[in-house]
Symmetry: C2
Subunit: 443 residues, 2 copies
């Protein structure tokens, strides 16, 4: 039994509780007791605001190598994608393990306790499978374990280079050839204590309706999370409408993909029917605002989706930055830009997206909250730095959501293990490993 005393802790309400004692045993929270204004003898003091573990629900780990390298010239999502493919094409299991390990360690420093890795870089050059056809998946799973975070390996089916087109160039590394072959490969992957296997329909561009139904059926039968990129760009909507006479969301609904196990990633350009389908199905919408802003995707309508019944999660996606606080506030701030009004999403609702609802969409319903029986994830944000100086207990939740940065995260506990202490990763020199892995990947 380890006892933690939190100066302030967020237990899910609009404000923080002062003096919260959390008893941890075997990686789980045993008890949570508020109103304990002095630390009990022997308790570890967590000064600042302690949050539940944060879930980064949408990651393409290799894209960390693109940070600061795609900001010249003009272009669009589609020209950016060419640069992204070049990095993908250079990776092998060894170099990807190194890059993902460092990237997940950067996430750990930012308070991320579980990552959803939306993984499509499956095969070797030209699409030839590795000896173990899951070698890339296993590299990502190993990377997360070494970085100390849980992973949901969201293994993506990717068959086409565009609607009706074969995969071309680097896309050949993504394709299993058929949805059946995808399922057969993924069957060999197993859940572990810190690993969940999920499924993804990469997008309606890359997966035809018949294949989408197979992937969705597999997820249903094996009771696994199912994710898909949905309507990130208007061009995807146009192509889908032209080819199939319906929106990506409607097409996915027909493939029986939309349910409470489903997460629509981005969900930026939706019509009223799409909102009804996602909300009525109780789906999750994973928004990635820093990437969507970087890639000129547009502004989603999260309040509208939430009102329709959808839950919300957050991802750093291309890793232009890795900072879940910035993602969380951007949901609200971008809606302000679009609407001219403030206050669409409360700080507590944004934190719930970053924690409990993010974990749920990754298949960790027992994580993301500070409550007895939950996994013992604790993320302590210092209020003593210059960004948060002046914060008082009654505005700590607001202040952290709207003004904290990843560098304010001081301590991170994952399943009861202390991964980050005083802002440093326990086992990885994160900046050095990032530097080496990126130079290798971006060369």
């Amino acid at each position: 039994m380890t006892v933690y005393w939190c100066e302030l802790a967020w237990l899910g309400g609009p404000t923080a509780e002062a003096g919260v004692v959390v008893e941890v045993e075997d990686g789980r929270i045993a008890t949570v007791t508020g109103g304990t204004l002095r630390p009990p003898p022997g308790a570890r003091r967590l000064e600042g605001l302690t949050l539940p573990g944060l879930a980064n629900a949408h990651s393409h780990a290799f894209q960390r190598a693109l940070r600061g390298r795609t900001q010249h010239g003009s272009g669009s999502f589609w020209t950016w994608r060419e640069q992204m493919y070049r990095v993908a094409d250079g990776l092998d299991p060894e170099s990807y393990l190194a890059l993902a390990r460092a990237t997940y360690a950067e996430m750990a420093l930012a308070g991320v306790t579980a990552v959803g890795e939306f993984h499509y870089l499956h095969h070797g050059a030209g699409g030839v499978p590795y000896g173990d056809p899951n070698e890339m998946s296993r590299a990502l799973i190993a990377a997360a374990a070494e970085a100390g975070v849980r992973i949901t390996l969201i293994d993506a089916c990717y068959l086409h280079g565009g609607i009706g087109e074969p995969p071309a160039g680097p896309q050949r590394r993504f394709s299993d050839g058929s949805a059946e072959a995808w399922a057969e490969r993924v069957e060999a992957l197993r859940d572990e204590e810190s690993v969940r296997i999920g499924a993804a329909i990469h997008s309606v561009r890359a997966v035809d309706p018949g294949a989408a139904a197979i992937v969705a059926g597999w997820a249903l039968e094996s009771d696994r999370p199912l994710h898909a990129h949905v309507s990130e760009q208007p061009a995807e909507n146009h192509a889908c409408l032209e080819a199939y006479g319906r929106t990506p969301t409607a097409l996915l609904a027909e493939a029986d993909a939309i349910s409470a196990r489903f997460t629509a990633v981005h969900a930026t350009h939706l019509d009223d029917g799409d909102v009804t389908l996602l909300g009525g199905g109780g789906a999750c919408c994973c928004v990635c605002p820093t990437t969507e802003r970087d890639l000129a995707d547009g502004i989603g309508q999260m309040r509208r989706l939430a009102e329709a019944g959808a839950s919300l999660s957050l991802g750093s996606d291309s890793h232009a930055v890795i900072d879940l606080f910035e993602e969380a506030r951007a949901v609200e701030l971008d809606e302000r830009l679009a609407s001219g009004e403030r206050g669409h999403n409360t700080a507590a609702a944004l934190l719930r997206a970053a924690s409990e609802d993010g974990h749920a969409c990754l298949g960790w319903p027992d994580a993301g909250r500070i409550a007895s029986e939950a996994r013992a994830d604790l993320v302590t944000v210092s209020l003593a730095g210059v960004r948060l100086a002046g914060t008082e207990p009654e505005n700590a939740v607001q202040a952290v959501v709207f003004a904290a940065g990843a560098p304010d995260v001081r301590h991170v506990l994952v399943d009861g293990r202390e991964i980050v202490r005083d802002g440093r990763h326990g086992t990885i020199d994160v900046a050095r490993e990032l530097h080496e892995a990126i130079l290798r990947a971006a060369a």
Copy 2:
């Protein structure tokens, strides 16, 4: 003579130069020599990317006390303003000095070497002048000196609570009663080595056209910068059109306010004629994207203004965050959200706004560039932290603009004086002073 060796330095081009030796004498840069790959004996090593000093061209220092305190409930700019007025109303010269000193020190940590303080909180309770009617202005000037940054005290004329309305409540502290009285008061303020006095027309809401012409005339005769809040919110445009039959920009143009000495702050909601007036007049537009996003103001059109001939500067305004890198990239990123395209503004153009053009609009034409005879301001950004890990010399400018955070600033030299070393302010415990000053101001 002090000699600095910059591992990388930005000298104004699209990329950084490697191995730049900067000789500093009497607060000025004497020589700049590139291509010196080994530090000369006795030189101070500046590792990372060294930038010229950054100018924070629009600040309301007291609003730092609002950070993290206005993010509950719903509302708009106008409901936020009520909270802002409550903080303003509680300040006196002593408490404002403490708050501004800590806020300017936070700016110094973020690489700001000159601040433009748009100052309208002139008088005591009920509008009664202090014994020295410039006591509040002098508190701000003292605060900047103690924090080690230059200040342009942009003294704002503020006469009306809205078009045709008398000032009410806390607004009475802002008003001098007439533009003539404003000018008489401001005449008593003097430029110093690290101080410039500028003028402001608070807005067309608060200054009628006749008074605006007086302020503009005073700025012209005394050769001083002139700033005004312009079209931050659609409601201002509507009220102005209704009262005067023209836009705020057109009204200011008729008052002879628009010239190369003029800075339009925000300039968010402009029509084609406004863009032509500001661009044709060679005015500066100071955008404050983090505040504009927080306050639901909307997205400006900076590329269009630049193409018309306007220059660009940046301000942290309400200090929701103080991070000029975040301001700079937000100019581009918000235009991406509005347009669906990337690459409206280059990293170098955004850095120029943050440095040379920002300084110019504050009346410091001799600052904001690393060049001989310029003021010796140097801001060194470490590339060794996790956010920027993986940066190479050829992408350092892009990476810093699009991915750096204020905590990456390691060393700051202002007029040859070392204000920040290894991320710490030389004389001020910034977080502690912020905390104390904010608790006092927000109480």
